[in-house]
Structures are given as structure tokens and as C-alpha cells.
Amino acid sequence: MKEIKDMSRDLLERREVDGVLGLRQGAYDIVEPHVFRDPGETSLLVTEPKWPMAKTAMKVLRDAPEGFRLAVVARGCDERALTELAKRNQVRDRNLRIIGVACTEARAKECLCDRPYPREIHGGRQEPGADPFEDPRVRALLEGDSRERMNRWASLLRRCIKCYGCRNACPICVCVPCKLEDEIWVEKGSVPAEMLVFHLIRAFHLSDTCVACGACQEACPVFIPLLSLQLAMRRTLKEEYGYEPGMERDRRSPVLKNAFEEPGTRKSVPAWVSPLEENHD
């Protein structure tokens, strides 16, 4: 993408940044993430394929000397992931700039993405996102009564080879130590992973953090549609609190706040709370 190349070169030439993290078209047709430092080198910068950049950026910044200014060629999901990482003090975003790439409509559909563009777009055009709940793939997974869903998910998750790819690919999963490696929670050496514990712990830890980039399911070698586990929780957060992970740098997750600060749209006490307080004056 020409605009992205030009902007990267300009930033490096004007010394506004010390490096640009993007994809480099290398020898033998190998595309890989690379920190461009020389303005002349930016002719090799490409924006395809989709590549989860947030964790790479985190590692680059962590290893870089103090004050290293980095620009990242980021899609909408990469930018949101970086915002969530910054909230958790994993990225020093003072020294971070985003070179925003907007995705095409076709890609948004493919990725089930409802916001396929970063806050500021430097390359590409803002296209409308796709509603993931309209997508036939998601509908097929979430439809039916709970018994059907239980059997469906159980047979999908039974494929798991416990490679931890979903966790490792996830731009937000950074905890050390990780609960999925703790024997108290997850039995060691059993394959497939104990489904209910392994997968649902992973899914729930990302409940208010998942930016729906889909890196987990793209990394999955046995094609488990993991993103569909997160979508309903994302929708609940949006409907209830107007909260979208990765959108506001200074807003903490509403799940961490009390019911006065973030009461939710419905009421302070949700209707599902069993009425122990009935007959109580």
C-alpha cells in the first residue's frame, strides 16, 4: 500500500520515530514482521497478509532501549489490542505511534469484524464492518437449544491437541504465570485438554478484553472456532455498559467497577439475581 510506505519513509526520514514495525517482503517470498530503521528499506514494506502485530510490538518495545519511539503498521484489531496491552502496562504507549490500515469489506466479513479500521486511517478506506451474529458460520454455532449447543461445542473442543496456540497467539494473553499451566486448574499431560476447564477458563479470562481479532482461531491447528465463544460476551458488554474492549484508553473494564460508577443500562441489580431479599424490609 503506497500511502503506508510513504508515511513510514517520511516518519523515518524526519526522525519522528526510531523504527517502524511492519511486514517485510523478504527473499524467497517470505513475509515476516520486521522493524524498519532505514528509510530506503521501506520499499519492501507490505500490508498483506493479516498478521497479528500487537504482541510483536510489545516484545520489540520491551527489548528496545528506554525512549525508543516505535511506529506500528496496525489494523483495527492490532490497535485495539495495543490499547488493551497499554492499559495493563505491557506497552509504553507514550513512545508508540499507529500507522493505521483499514481492512477491505471482504476481509471484515471473513474475520467477523464489526470494526475493521483503526481510529485514524492512513491507508485504505473505511468500510462498514460485518455483524458477526449475521454470519452463517456463527449462527450455525450459536443456534439451537442448550443441549444441541452443548453437544456441538463438546465435539468441537474434543479435537483440541492442547498446543496452547490459542493462548500464545492471543495478543492479550500475557500473564506469567498462566493459569492454564497450573496443575491446580488444568491437569497436566492429558489430551484432549479437559474441555470445560481449559477452554472456558481461557475464554472467560478474555471476557472483557477480547478485541475479536480472531488470532486464536486462526492459530488453531484443528480449526476450533474459538472466536464464537467470545462474541456473546462482547455483545453483552456493549449492550449493557456501552463498552468495547480496546476503544478507550482511559476507561477500565466495567466489570472491575462498582454498580454506581457503571450501573449498566438495565438496572443496578440484574433481574437474574435470585430474590433472597423478597419479604425483606
Binding site: L142, S146, R147, E148, R149, M150, N151, R152, W153, A154, S155, R158, R159, K179, W185, G189, S190, V191, P192, E194, M195, L196, V197, L200, I201, A203, F204, S207, D208, S228, L229, L231, A232, M233, T236, L237, E240, P254, V255, L256, K257, N258, A259, F260, G264, S268, V269, P270, W272, V273, S274, P275, L276, E277, E278, N279, H280
Partner: protein, 156 residues
């Protein structure tokens, strides 16, 4: 196909209760003292606060063969730890969404708020929860107990 009632003929419904030690826990104990009409198959684990119950512990319990988990805390506004039960409430609401998505059913998680002297209501909540769980299908496909359409995979 095994129906819920067939399952429940031989097997009692198991309920695990996490009760905050200031309110729900005392209420549970008093219900016992008073010999309230309670289902027999629940066990109470007292915790310092409902907010200390990790959602992960709910998964662990369900995987271990528990049919339903109840989390009892103080009234909203009456928490000993200021607003900790708000956090518990919001978290558990999200957890119900995930349980629903995965087909386990958010109803398997019961959240209730009460005070120490509301023991009669503890009995009512437990009774209702017990009846609800009796009507639900077993979690066998999830816990590896076999299911209807796919063969069990080979272990290591």
C-alpha cells in the same frame, strides 16, 4: 436418548454453594439449625466474600461432576468489603453468558444476595435451584462422559 428424569432416578443432583461468611454462610447455617426443609445434596464452602469466588472455580466444579453452583453474598449495598459484591455480580453475569454460549446453561449458576437472618429464604433458594437442576440434562458431553453423536477421542 437419556432424559433428565432417567438420569436423576439413580443420581442425586449435586450442588456446590460458595457462601460469603458474613451473610449467606450464616444464613445457610441457621437454616440448618432451624431444620428448614432443605434438599440434601448440597455442600457449602464458606468464603470470605462472594467476590473471592473465581469464575474459574465454577468451571472446575462443573467439570468435577457438580450439577450447579450457587454463589451467595450480601445484599447489594450491604457488603462488608464495600462494593466487592458488585464486582462479583457483574462478573457472574458475564459468566452466565459464556455458559449459555457453550450450551452448559447459565441457570446452572445461581447468584443470590441475602443477609444472615434470611435463613428461610436460603431454604427457598436452594429448593428452587434443586428443582431447576433436576430438570436439566447431564453435563456428560462436556465432562468426557460420552455423548450422542461423536466417538470419544483417543487419549495419550
Amino acid at each position: 436418548m437419556e432424559t433428565a428424569s432417567e438420569r436423576n432416578e439413580g443420581k442425586p443432583v449435586k450442588i456446590l454453594v460458595f457462601a460469603c461468611r458474613w451473610c449467606g454462610g450464616i444464613g445457610a447455617e441457621r437454616a440448618g439449625w432451624k431444620r428448614a426443609d432443605l434438599p440434601a445434596s448440597f455442600r457449602v464452602i464458606p468464603v470470605e466474600c462472594a467476590a473471592l469466588v473465581e469464575p474459574d472455580a465454577v468451571f472446575r466444579a462443573l467439570a468435577a461432576g457438580i450439577d450447579g453452583v450457587a454463589v451467595l453474598g450480601c445484599h447489594v449495598g450491604g457488603c462488608r468489603y464495600d462494593e466487592a459484591n458488585h464486582a462479583a455480580l457483574k462478573r457472574m453475569e458475564l459468566l452466565k453468558v459464556l455458559l449459555d454460549t457453550a450450551g452448559i446453561g447459565g441457570e446452572r449458576l445461581c447468584l443470590a444476595f441475602g443477609t444472615a437472618h434470611e435463613d428461610h429464604q436460603f431454604a427457598a433458594v436452594m429448593g428452587d435451584f434443586h428443582r431447576l437442576l433436576q430438570g436439566m440434562p447431564p453435563l456428560a458431553p462436556w465432562t468426557g462422559g460420552g455423548d450422542e453423536d461423536s466417538p470419544r477421542s483417543v487419549g495419550t
